[in-house]
Amino acid sequence: MSLRFSLKKSFPGFDSNVELSAENEMTVLFGPSGAGKSLILKMISGIVRPDSGVICVDGQTVFDSSGGVDIPMRNRKIGFLFQDYALFPHMTVRENIAYGVTSNHKGEKNGRVKELMEIMRLSGLEGSYPHEISGGQKQRTALARTLASEPRLLLLDEPFSALDFQVREKLRADLANIHELFPVTAILVTHDLEEAFMLGQRIAVINGGRFEQVGSREDVFYRPATRNVARFAGTRNIFDGRVAGIRGEEVEIDCPELGVIKTHVPERLGLAGGRPVTFCIRPEEILVIRPDKGLGRVSDNIVEGDILSTTGRGSTHVLHLRAGQAGALLRIELPNFVMRKLGLEAGKRIKVSLKKENIWVIP
């Protein structure tokens, strides 16, 4: 199964122009609010008519503005989980799910509904109406209804946003095994970084109606193609500089904020001396140097600074460091045990290393 589309759509104040192919896999659409994620799903499903473009599902052209093809929604065999659920208010939870089941055989239908209700932990709510259930229960009902129709393409608009962490993790795992459970191509919209990382073998980063990068999750997270992608993917430490020296793949960047920074750059980038460049490093890749141990083997890009604040985030802490000659703000994420061991707290002065191999120069 496969999906291929190339679409254009304009609204006053917003326009979208996107192109993508996906095979038997889960592609994650990731981007800020208002980027046009839901719009893409709506165009693929046929809810919103694109201004122009082509959509092929499974080799079948379901929409082609130039060829005048526009297959009705019901024949597209697309499962759509709406961001606001779109549950039928006049049907109970059970009826909503049963509505999606294609089989007409009664026993089969009941069995399938029961199975889905169990997977989605909805048992006991069979007879409740949508206005009588909680937000998360609504989302699970909607998800069950979508899966019930056994679509050949699954479009999921933030399927886990209203779910608690346990169900979410369970469903994520289910979805990650989606090829076994529901062997379909899937597009999943999320604004959750962790979710994007966990679920997306492939991630398409969208901003302002356009894809800024489409690639593997490692590419998107560690090798962002643009400054925006770097920002969205949580690579908070982004700096500008100028190429000061090149020695093979090793490049020295003169950064007004941090000083001279050394890094590796693949030769194909073809940087020339003096060229302005942007580089970044992820917060969790910044190494705090233990004061008691000295530099040891670590010698790359040592930066000294004052801890401005520390914020607990559950399993990690985030430090803000005022560092370098121009007082650049560095964000550092550390495991809690490191925090404790080093006794880090606001006001302390520490040294960190931006290791060469952790720095990424945005092409």
Binding site: M73, R74, I78, A86, F88, H90, Y99, S149
Partner: protein, 217 residues
């Protein structure tokens, strides 16, 4: 009391309401989801039977369906006689009550969320299934209101019925005609009794309809 008028009224009002509702559903559905130039015009035109005095409406219907009209002659040839039969009363009631159903039905259909209909379409349902399982139930409140009004109006239809069906006791004399006759004869008591009967009848039907059509969600 002669029970025939009551029997006829029941027959006519249910038949007329059924036709009105069926035709109104089709028209309202066709109009609801599109925006075309003539829409507003049609929407306004279907109100006209309300504006024209029923007797005059009946006069027009008689002219249109009667023996002297091409349509009337055509129907005659098919063996269908409308004028001076109970069918005439049905036609009169349909014309009078049509706007009362079609208008709220249109409003109700327009109010149904397109998202929910799309959700049903994406689950593979045909347009008819979408209509039956989603649009109809969601428009239910407005449709029920319209149906109840159309039924009540059909039950009470007098002016146009008089012209199209005539007032033939035992054949086309509905309750409203009988009531009118009683009033004209100065038999206020009989009139009041019959008004009581028609009130009780329509009350029972409308009350049952009201209970039955209760929206639970």
């Amino acid at each position: 009391m002669d029970l025939f008028p009551l029997y006829l009224t029941i027959k006519v009002s249910f038949t007329a309401a059924a036709f009105t509702i069926a035709a109104g559903l089709v028209l309202a559905r066709l109009m609801a989801k599109r925006d075309f130039f003539a829409k507003n015009i049609i929407d306004t035109l279907i109100m006209q039977p309300l504006v024209i005095p029923p007797t005059v409406l009946g006069y027009y219907l008689l002219t249109a369906l009667g023996a002297s009209s091409p349509l009337g002659r055509f129907l005659e040839r098919l063996g269908i006689r409308i004028v001076f039969t109970w069918k005439g009363a049905v036609v009169a009631s349909i014309v009078s009550s049509f706007p009362l159903f079609a208008k709220p039905a249109l409003a109700a259909f327009e109010g149904v969320s397109a998202d929910l209909e799309n959700a049903a379409r994406l689950l593979g349902k045909t347009e008819f299934e979408v209509f039956r399982t989603v649009t109809l139930p969601l428009a239910w409140r407005g449709l029920a209101a319209g149906a109840v009004m159309a039924f009540a109006r059909a039950t009470g239809e007098f002016g146009a019925t008089l012209m199209v069906a005539g007032n033939i006791p035992g054949l086309t004399q509905t309750m409203p005609l009988a009531i009118y006759d009683a009033v004209q004869t100065g038999n206020a008591f009989a009139a009041n009794v019959m008004v009581g009967v028609i009130t009780v009848f329509s009350f029972a039907v409308l009350y049952a309809a009201g209970r039955f059509s209760r929206v639970r969600f």
